[in-house]
Symmetry: C2
Subunit: 334 residues, 2 copies
């Protein structure tokens, strides 16, 4: 069955659609597949619109396939679900067309809104399925800033934050507050003017944000980082390298792949990977528990009582928390 | 007491900090103040980093104050909470310095992560307090894309999406999928090259996304929109105007203020405001109920049982949903 899903991409795509829709048929299979997962490298890739994320992910996938033709690669593009974004998404998909002939690469868009049980749970389930089915590397690509990135950072083992040199002095990853979730920082479109300043701005932001000073850190030299696994203590601090790429010309891609692999080794050797996974599991279980509780509570409260409380809040005779407390008592009791 | 908070800005700032921290002392006052709210115009302003949101909001506040010196204005800047973003936030605050001497303007930053009970609940409570205290217009400024914007769109009555002309052909609001929440679209930095193309791209994206065709719509002409309230049917469709500004030179600001006021009138006349508020209240109450239920459930489950289930998921003998279901049974029973 699992082998079927790797070769039968239609069946795989159908299962993913079922997961997105919260279809009960999918559940048993998803639950069973979960037991077989845990081998894939799950890489989140995020950055502002226009930084070239899709091109970078396509280039990474292509080179991974060249270096290890037996290792299959999956790409999940989490798109803001919107009638308006149709054109932009189409553009991204066109950029990935070069991968389309390769049966070892699976590409899938997922809507970021409206998924039953939330994006995070649906994305997590899809990633687990791809993992169990045998994909060696799974990229999750998301736009921008916000809670979604935090959720994806929880699912991913390694987070790549992508920045393009800006016209002004603004570094979007810093302004959007996503640098703190970065394990690897990529300055893409590095042939553009301003790339050096962007690297410097990112470096000083990282130096401020991290507990350890930057003395002796050769941030832009990936070879330095490649030496690190030689003698890492179990509690060795990971310092996100800043790497330059021109993804459209496939320049700098090998260094990013090396950094991803190095980070994966760091997670295993330092124990940071196990801690990260334990946190992620706990948050996932709690979110799903909250969902179950809320559904049960809403079923337990008579509709007229519910409507009266909501009306009270709308008319401002009740604060939303007071209404929630009364619903809590009505459903679960004191 | 309420009048005190308007004149005693230190007490107001202290109350907001208590709300952010989830301090129980704040609760009674917040609950009481909620009954007095409902008069302010709550305006969300969002857009990618670098589009000039802060400058625009500052210019809007300044002109509102000139036109109506008795109407106080509050600005809440929801910042991605991050050690890295310190510099950028400082920059924004410096841009607002021109407002600092005006006692009729209250400016406050709020962290977007780590707030107890979520950003949305804390921001909603702060907005309610500012409303009850007597601020006539409350701006909520957020960066970018993602769930946060959706949450803020729920709190706000009118959402302004800001775009700056890009270097390339990318329109960030479209790519990030936030155009669908826009009530008013502003192309700021409109003296830059590419402004006309950006307006055109936004216009065609709006034409695609909206159910009604754009025939006869003079989108960039605010005077057209100002005539609309003369004869709107109760179910009249709102068409987001696209307005050009150069906020740093205070150009185009009056047209934005007119559009905000026009949208507010539309919400009242068409009934759309009441529907929007009913939806927002219901979601707010449900989120707070979910929070209460989850806390109670986690208290009800013995720690050893909880730990065993989490360990089972980590070791992949249980799917997260299976663990959640067992916790549900252990806490609430069948």
């Amino acid at each position: 069955m699992v082998a079927d899903l790797m070769s039968d991409r239609r069946a795989l795509a159908r299962l993913i659609t079922q997961i997105e829709n919260g279809a009960p048929e999918a559940r048993q299979l998803v639950t069973r597949l979960y037991r077989r997962g845990g081998r894939a490298h799950i890489v989140g890739v995020t950055g502002a619109p226009g930084c070239g994320k899709s091109t970078l992910v396509a280039a990474l996938a292509r080179q991974l396939r060249v270096h290890a033709p037996d290792a299959h690669v999956a790409i999940i593009a989490v798109d803001p679900s919107s009638a308006f974004s149709g054109g932009a998404i189409l553009g991204d998909r066109l950029r990935m067309r070069s991968l389309a002939g390769d049966a070892g690469v699976f590409i899938r868009s997922m809507a970021s809104r409206g998924a039953l049980g939330g994006v995070a749970a649906a994305t997590a389930d899809v990633v687990e399925v791809l993992d169990a089915v045998g994909f060696g590397t799974i990229f999750i690509e998301t736009v921008g800033a916000g809670q979604l990135e935090v959720d994806v950072a929880r699912i991913a083992q390694t987070v790549v934050v992508v920045e393009a040199p800006g016209a002004g002095d603004e570094v979007q990853a810093i302004k959007a507050g996503i640098l703190e979730i970065a394990d690897v920082v990529v300055v893409n479109k590095a042939d553009r003017e301003g790339a050096t300043q962007t690297v410097a701005a990112l470096q000083s932001a990282l130096d401020i944000g991290r507990p350890m000073p930057a003395a002796g850190l050769h941030a832009i030299d990936p070879s330095h980082h490649l030496q690190a696994p030689e003698q890492p203590g179990p509690s060795a601090e990971w310092r996100p390298p800043i790497l330059k790429t021109v993804a459209s010309h496939e320049e700098g891609i090998a260094a990013v792949i090396a950094a991803l692999e190095e980070h994966r080794q760091h997670l295993q050797l330092s124990g940071a990977g196990a801690r990260r996974r334990a946190r992620a599991v706990e948050q996932d279980v709690r979110a799903r528990l909250g969902d179950l509780l809320l559904r049960r509570a809403l079923r337990a409260v008579p509709q007229t009582h519910y409507n009266a409380l909501i009306a009270g809040v709308i008319e401002r005779t009740l604060h939303p928390l007071e209404a929630a407390e009364q619903l809590f008592i009505a459903s679960w009791g004191q």
